[in-house]
Amino acid sequence: MYFLPMIVDEEACIVMSIGSEARKKMQQVHGLKSLSNAEMRGLTVVKQGDQPPKSPLTEFMEQTPKILFSKSDIERTAVVGSDSLRVTIQNGDIAFSVNGYYSKVEDASSNKAKVGVRAMKIIQSEVAKMRDGTLLTNTPTTSDGIGDRRARIYERAGFGSPDAFGNMRSVVKKGKMTPVSKEQYDYMIENKHFTGNLAKSETPWF
């Protein structure tokens, strides 16, 4: 059985099915060996069973490793010049603090940039060791008034856009962070695109 979508005007189309006899007749009329890939006089022939186009969310899910909820706690500390950096990744949630503070301090010396570079290198080396699909999250601190700018940096570094609560997500793919939006994350959860069992009590807060 074949379907013939017929364009009748710019806004609408109709589809009619034809049986084997009609198909043979059309092949004869148009001198075609097969109708399966034929395009003729505004008629496009589609073989029954062809898959409808996939949604962007489905395509994204198929190209993304199954989400893996990390249960490990990682803590790395470093002294850079006069500053003490602490990087933690707890259950996939990344947090930084410098000299015990999570928000911006007034001393924006160039040494703070070195601390930023060290933090990026630490995350880079830890992510490179993580399994494909590991979910990483981050919630940029907003208390200092530059949360949007900070979020923008994290987005460029591999996190998805922040949701309404400021939470950002990323999934590890071949040792690198790939951004995941809330919509994409929710879609993967709905379609059970994750590893292991996710009991209700374990549903991540983000």
Binding site: S103, S109, V115, G116, R118, Q124, R150, I153
Partner: protein, 45 residues
Amino acid sequence: MELSDARLDEILKIIGEKTEDEAIEWIELQPDKDLINEYLSEIVS
């Protein structure tokens, strides 16, 4: 003053590819190094 997305991408890419010392040396040579320093300090501050 803001860094453009393209510039930010370039900076993050270079930091990712170079060693820590090389990345810091590279930043010091950039005409917009003060702005870069400001941004990088905000990653962790």
